[in-house]
């Protein structure tokens, strides 16, 4: 009972921040391609950066379903703020799930909660063809200190993060796929911006390329291979939370279309209710998208609850296919639903200065297919389909 009351409160807080801060900032964040600082301030004030951290370390310890719902709610108001929040949660979860055997990391989890630290991901790298399971950069360890250099093709909110989780080969001699995940604190990293971030959508995520160099204590290497972290936490949770953001974008776009159709219908009682058929069909798609995400959340939570055997299943090819499919399907549906909303609203949806405008939604939604390119995930699934047995 207590849990239900607390969770309802956090959802109410998120919705209030969304309405009062994110929604108001979103047009300017988008127009200026600037970091949504006011949204981040509001999230920090309300402890939203530590909701995935267990209560014992000062967080809220929310389950995956609650995290997905928060991503969805934020996504209704500002896609960029929602995506920044979602990417941060996936980073935090990697530490919660895989680093708590280390005293350093247990202490750092507390610090994230206390100071509401924002963690960015440095998984992208020039020269690996978009495959985050391969690194060129390598950790060079000399006793208690280590160093690494990396050419990152994108670091979302890179200039605004307090720390970073970076993938690199375990040693300079290691194979490209023998990777570790390293925590770098802001003061340990030298970031040199090597390009800009003037994009079609998701402009507020501020994700330009950087040259990264860092010297850091060796204890900041997460004590589990990245392949395992990726299979059990980073990939499933990222895809679930990204899908949550996209669900928010799709929901808000379709809500605008709903208001448009209903306003017309009120003025034209008994006449031709233009757009209502397309609206009904688009609502079907939205339900399909939502139910598909919720099913993935349930399956992932069941696997996590199962313990060791569940974690082993996360490392299976069958689960890789499933979680890739969640990402591919959700990213396709969000773009499709927003385009339906645009068709329903017509010029009122196409115009930027209109209560029915879905232009920003569409531009933001089109990024979904590119965040780990759908063609790459489809190619992986195609390869795995050669060996998969149970459909």
């Amino acid at each position: 009972m207590e849990t239900i009351v607390r969770q309802r409160t956090i959802f109410e807080i998120v919705d209030q921040i969304g309405q009062e801060v994110l929604a108001k900032a979103a047009p300017d964040v988008d127009a200026q391609s600037r970091f949504p600082q006011e949204a981040m301030d509001a999230m920090r004030q309300n402890g939203l950066l530590s909701v995935a951290i267990p209560q014992v370390y000062g967080g809220l310890g929310l389950d995956v379903k609650s995290l997905m719902q928060i991503a969805e709610t934020l996504g209704k108001y500002c896609s960029a703020s929602a995506m920044i929040w979602a990417m941060h949660q996936a980073q935090v979860a990697c530490l919660v799930q895989h680093a708590d055997s280390s005293q350093f990391f247990r202490h750092y989890l507390r610090e994230i909660a206390e100071k509401q630290l924002l963690i960015a991901s440095i998984t992208s790298e020039a020269g690996v063809g978009g495959d985050i399971g391969t690194s060129i950069a390598a950790v060079e360890t000399e006793g208690a200190m280590s160093r690494l250099t990396k050419e990152a093709t994108v670091i979302s909110y890179g200039e605004y993060a307090d720390s970073y989780l970076v993938t690199a080969r375990r040693t300079p001699e290691s194979a490209g796929n023998d990777q570790v995940l390293v925590l770098l604190k802001r003061e340990e990293v030298e970031l040199t911006k090597t390009g800009g971030w003037d994009t079609l959508g998701m402009r507020g995520t501020c994700s330009p390329p950087f040259h990264v160099t860092a010297t850091f204590p060796t204890e900041q290497i997460v004590p589990v291979p990245f392949s395992q972290i990726s299979a059990e936490t980073m990939a499933p949770l990222s895809h679930i939370l990204w899908a949550g953001c996209w669900l928010g974008i799709a929901t808000d776009a379709l809500n605008r279309a709903r208001k448009y159709v209903q306003a017309k219908a009120r003025k034209n009682l008994g006449g031709d209710q233009q757009g209502s058929t397309r609206l009904a069909e688009a609502i079907n798609l939205l339900n399909l998208m939502r139910n598909n995400i919720i099913a993935s959340v349930s399956e992932y939570e069941e696997l996590m609850a199962e313990g060791e055997s569940g974690r082993a299943k996360c490392n299976s090819m069958a689960y890789t296919i499933k979680i890739n499919t969640l990402k591919i399907t959700s990213s396709q549906l969000v773009a499709q639903i927003v385009q339906e909303a645009l068709l329903i609203c017509g010029m009122a949806g196409y115009a930027n200065e209109s209560p029915y405008s879905v232009g920003r939604h569409l531009r933001d939604a089109l990024s979904a297919a590119l965040m780990i390119n759908n063609d790459r995930l489809t190619a992986t699934n195609a390869k795995l389909s050669l060996i998969q047995k149970n459909l």
Partner: protein, 86 residues
């Protein structure tokens, strides 16, 4: 059985190390086998030993070394010595 696994790894594993250096417990992924290459190894094993790996066995841990592959094949009823010709 071990020799046939080795032959398949030599042909399809795309390892970064020489086959002579490959021990029975060497981690194949650390030796550079990509997940793409691992699928080809699995397909070749299925073909050579005339079997199908069930989904529950299609996981990184099962194909992590020559020994773990041998254990998987034994579990599926392949006999240590009596192996059909590839």
């Amino acid at each position: 059985m071990i020799e046939q696994i080795r032959a398949i790894l030599a042909e399809h594993g795309r390892l970064m190390i020489d086959m002579e250096e490959l021990k029975e417990d060497t981690d194949l992924y650390e030796a550079g086998m990509t997940s793409h290459a691992s699928v080809n190894v699995m397909l070749a094993l299925e073909n050579t030993f005339d079997l199908e790996f069930p989904d529950r066995m299609l996981a990184r841990a099962v194909f992590t070394s020559i020994l773990s592959i041998r254990d998987a094949l034994l579990e599926l009823g392949v006999e240590e010595e009596a192996v059909k010709e590839a």
